[in-house]
């Protein structure tokens, strides 16, 4: 188990766990802020930079997220778009038995790359 840091903002918690080959962000709670990007974007950008420098895959694990407003989707898809055009490796994990997660995160497959550098994975509980 690598280094773990936890970021909390109101109802949202993002736990960052760094291992030898990946940096995992585990999202939990609810993301319901007016401008969630103010909290989320700096974390994502920092992780993306570190993963690029270290050649690690970023794993965004949303399985335990209870709810997110549409403003939360914005910083996530911007990072996926940039990863798609760049060299970053990103995996999005979601809970496919939850309809709201399946509906939201399966749509992010438009950002997947054929070489699986960017991949979207529905997980079974």
């Amino acid at each position: 188990m690598g280094e773990t840091r936890t970021f909390t903002n109101n109802s949202l918690e993002i736990k960052v766990t760094e291992n030898e080959d990946s940096i995992k962000l585990t999202w939990s709670g609810k993301s319901i802020d007016r401008e969630p990007g103010k909290f989320i974007s700096p974390i994502l950008l920092d992780i993306i930079k570190r993963s690029t420098d270290a050649g690690k895959r970023v794993i965004l694990d949303f399985c335990r997220l209870a709810y997110m407003n549409s403003s939360t989707i914005t910083p996530i898809i911007k990072v996926l778009e940039r990863a798609k055009k760049g060299k970053n490796k990103i995996t999005v994990m979601y809970e496919k038995s939850l309809r709201w997660q399946e509906v939201n995160f399966s749509a992010l497959r438009i950002f997947e790359t054929t070489d699986q550098r960017v991949e979207i994975k529905g997980m079974a509980r």
């Binding site: 103010k38 709810y67 549409s70 898809i77 911007k78 778009e81 309809r99 939201n104 950002f111």
Partner: protein, 215 residues
């Protein structure tokens, strides 16, 4: 009727549900009403029953969670599916968020009104809030977005297009623009709006209870 007419009226369609207005305004007034139901639930057996949540809110972001909580509890009490409850709660939340972002609340007597009704097998969410004289650009954008969504046969395609568009914007641009199309896609709802004579903007989303995955 103000400058903007109901988008549905322009399309030659009519709303099939009745609407009432509560006269009182001011922050923090809640009224959950329940009408008679033929089978005690609002599911497939429900006909012309009317069940409602009426809330008048101040422009306080924290109150959105109360809208979500009441919506969820109310729909659960009606025996609706978890999928529908999640979807309508999302719709309620997104519409109230938009109302709080774009409403004009300079007069403390003018709050944001949230209504949820179940009428004729439809779940109807309505948010009404005062607008400022400078709201015209927002109203034009709202009208354009709703018409744009309706131009797609499948709201999923509209959602994908919006995802691509938003993803290309600068990382510092905090504008989402995904709320309405998410309501159409994930919420399986028809969105409509009108501006009343007092310049209050009413935005509604109507979802059929029996459609698709709802039951």
């Amino acid at each position: 009727m103000g400058v903007y007419q109901k988008a549905d009226e322009r399309n030659g369609r009519e709303r099939s549900y009745a609407r009432t207005r509560k006269g009182s305004k001011g922050a923090g007034k809640f009224d959950d009403r329940e009408g008679p139901t033929p089978q005690g639930k609002a599911g497939p057996g429900a006909t012309a029953s009317r069940k409602a949540i009426d809330m008048t809110l101040g422009p306080h972001w924290d109150q959105i969670e109360e809208v979500r909580r009441r919506t969820r509890a109310f729909l659960k009490n009606q025996g609706l599916s978890k999928e529908l409850i999640d979807a309508v709660t999302m719709v309620s939340s997104e519409l109230v968020e938009n109302g709080m972002k774009y409403g004009c609340f300079e007069d403390p007597e003018n709050g944001l009104t949230f209504n949820l009704n179940i009428v004729e097998k439809n779940v109807i969410v309505e948010v009404t809030h005062p607008t400022s004289p400078s709201a015209a650009p927002h109203l034009r954008r709202l009208d354009k977005t709703i018409q744009w969504i309706r131009g797609f046969q499948d709201p999923f395609q509209a959602y994908l297009e919006k995802l691509k568009e938003v993803a290309r914007r600068p990382i510092t641009d905090s504008e989402s623009g995904l709320g309405l199309v998410r309501i159409a896609y994930e919420g399986k709802s028809i969105i409509d709006f009108f501006v009343a004579e007092d310049n209050a903007l009413n935005v509604s989303a109507v979802a059929g209870i029996e459609k698709g995955l709802w039951r």
